[in-house]
Amino acid sequence: MSREELMLEVEDLHVYYGAIHALKGISLKVPKGAIITLIGANGAGKTTTLTTIAGLVKARSGRIKFMGEDITNKPPHTVTQMGIAMVPEGRRIFPNLTVYENLMMGAYTRKDREGIQEDLEWVFQLFPRLKERLTQLGGTLSGGEQQMLAISRALMSRPKLLMMDEPSLGLAPLLVMEVFDVIKKINGEGTTILLVEQNAMGALKTAHYGYVLETGKIVLEGPTDELLQNEEVKKAYLGVA
């Protein structure tokens, strides 16, 4: 037993898309209560890692354990019910549902009315702007508002583990900072977070521990303050010489 309790453990994960070997034996650990980040260039396999954990993509081999239970290749609805939620790449909110209906979809697997109401209030605290737009169709929100909705929708399942795929993509600098702040706030309330980002600087400053992914393999890992000082990381991902 390690000192810290593990929430998620991925062991030697291999994923293929037809002949494309997208993940070539990935192993990572997400301790309870932490923010873990996964950074890497385009096509490195970040999204694939998350969608495989969520059960949307099947693993060829390897193991995914969540709270001690094997969830490898379990259907997505089972994984969600166990307490994993995802903010998917590109937001993917439901354009023809209202903001309120989108939020309720996040809580779809829940039965506790009071808990849902509580979480709704919490989400409005995080993003007051959503409260003003409850009856607006999701598709008519601005890009930034859609991202807030996507995060809130995922939170509505009251997840133990929240996986976020590039939540800062396409947002104005001020909003990017706001999103990273919100991630810390969500984590502060006790939700464990697995964060995938292109914005390596923001991600490394937000997370506690990081993994660097290159063409389907983890090439580097460590506490984020160490990664921020690492010469390789600086050159390749932080844009400083």
Partner: protein, 356 residues
């Protein structure tokens, strides 16, 4: 600024509308001629079929072309239950009807329920393998299944009486049965659409993968919607058979043409709108009767024009194309006619009158 009515007001308005509808239907049944009443009945029967069809094609977002197959199952099931044993013995001249179908007879309500259940069962059997497909592939698969059902009806002589079909069915589908069933269909489909189940269906329609990531079992939900839609298609089939008083396996009666007519109704009305489906059904029923004259012989001045059979559908298709060019998303779009909308519409009318 959108204004909303109180829920209690809406309940009273709805009850009032129901009472008014019953009164109007009563007056219509007493004063209108049989031809006009027949069109009224046809509107309700098409309404049942169209509402159940838009539930699967518009609300669940599955492109099915198999609706007529379920209508056919319902029509035959119900006809076989309402015909008297003697009538059956006289109709099945080539091969006798198999036992126990040759001896049982039920009332119309039971027969219609059985029609719905049988169609739902077939929807399950067809949906289970084909709902693993999406988009165009699903459309082709369902079209294929509905054609298989029609061919079965054509060839299972000792069950369906083959090409001879079933004739002389009692004309049970009066105003009350047809409009009553339309009412039930609308109530059930509307409540489902606005339940959390319906919300999940719409989420799947918008983005199936995101819906799956929310923990929705996409396949199970779609299959359930397909079965419910099949049930009401079967009910529609029962009503249809007892309106026409005859049922046969021609493509225009229960085959692919019926599916296309239904598709026209729901797309014209606005795909995914229940109000739209009923408007589409009404327009289709009225226009297809009214346009009958173009197929007859006409005298314009000194010219005599001989009607061309099928001309109705040509005109109908043209009207359809023009409508779709004007209203891209159909008459209602994805919207429903609600009391709130009506109220806001009236409010908007008022100030203008003051200015004028």
């Amino acid at each position: 600024m959108e204004r909303r009515l109180k829920t209690s007001t809406k309940v009273y308005l709805t009850l009032g509308l129901i009472a008014l509808s019953i009164l109007l239907l009563y007056v219509a049944s007493k004063t209108l001629d049989t031809y006009a009443i027949r069109i009224l009945r046809l509107i309700a029967v098409f309404g049942v079929m169209a509402v159940s069809y838009t539930f699967i094609n518009g609300i669940t977002g599955l492109f099915s072309l198999g609706h007529a197959g379920f209508v056919a199952i319902g029509a035959y099931t119900s006809a076989l239950l309402t015909m008297s044993p003697m009538q059956k013995e006289m109709s099945y001249i080539l091969e006798p009807l198999i036992w126990p179908l040759n001896v049982i007879q039920t009332d119309f309500f039971t027969a219609t329920l059985a029609a719905g259940v049988m169609a739902a069962l077939f929807a399950f059997l067809i949906g289970y393998p084909s709902l693993r497909l999406t988009g165009d592939y699903l459309a082709i698969a369902t079209l294929g299944f509905s054609e298989i059902i029609r061919i079965m009806a054509l060839n299972m002589q000792s069950v369906t009486n083959g090409a001879l079909g079933l004739k002389g069915l009692p004309e049970y589908s009066n105003i009350w049965w047809t409009w009553g069933w339309l009412f039930i269909t609308v109530v059930v489909i509307t409540s489902l659409t606005y339940s959390s189940f319906g919300r999940a269906l719409k989420a799947i329609r918008d983005d199936a993968i995101a819906a799956e990531a929310m923990g929705i079992n996409v396949f199970k939900h779609q299959l359930m919607a397909f079965v419910i839609s099949g049930f009401f298609a079967g009910v529609g089939g029962s009503l249809y058979a007892h309106l026409l008083t005859t049922i046969d396996p021609r493509p225009t009666t229960i085959g692919v043409m019926l599916t296309f007519y239904l598709l026209i109704m729901i797309v014209l009305g606005g795909l995914g709108s229940i109000t739209g489906a009923i408007i589409g059904a009404a327009l289709f029923a009225i226009l297809s009767e009214w346009l009958r004259f173009v197929e007859g012989t006409m005298h314009i001045g000194k010219w005599t024009i001989h009607g061309i059979p099928g001309m109705r559908m040509v005109i109908f298709s043209l009207l359809f194309i023009i409508t779709m060019l004007v209203w891209r998303r159909g008459i209602m779009g994805m919207e429903e006619l609600t009391w709130d909308k009506l109220y806001n519409w009236i409010l908007r009318l008022r100030p203008r009158r003051k200015e004028g």
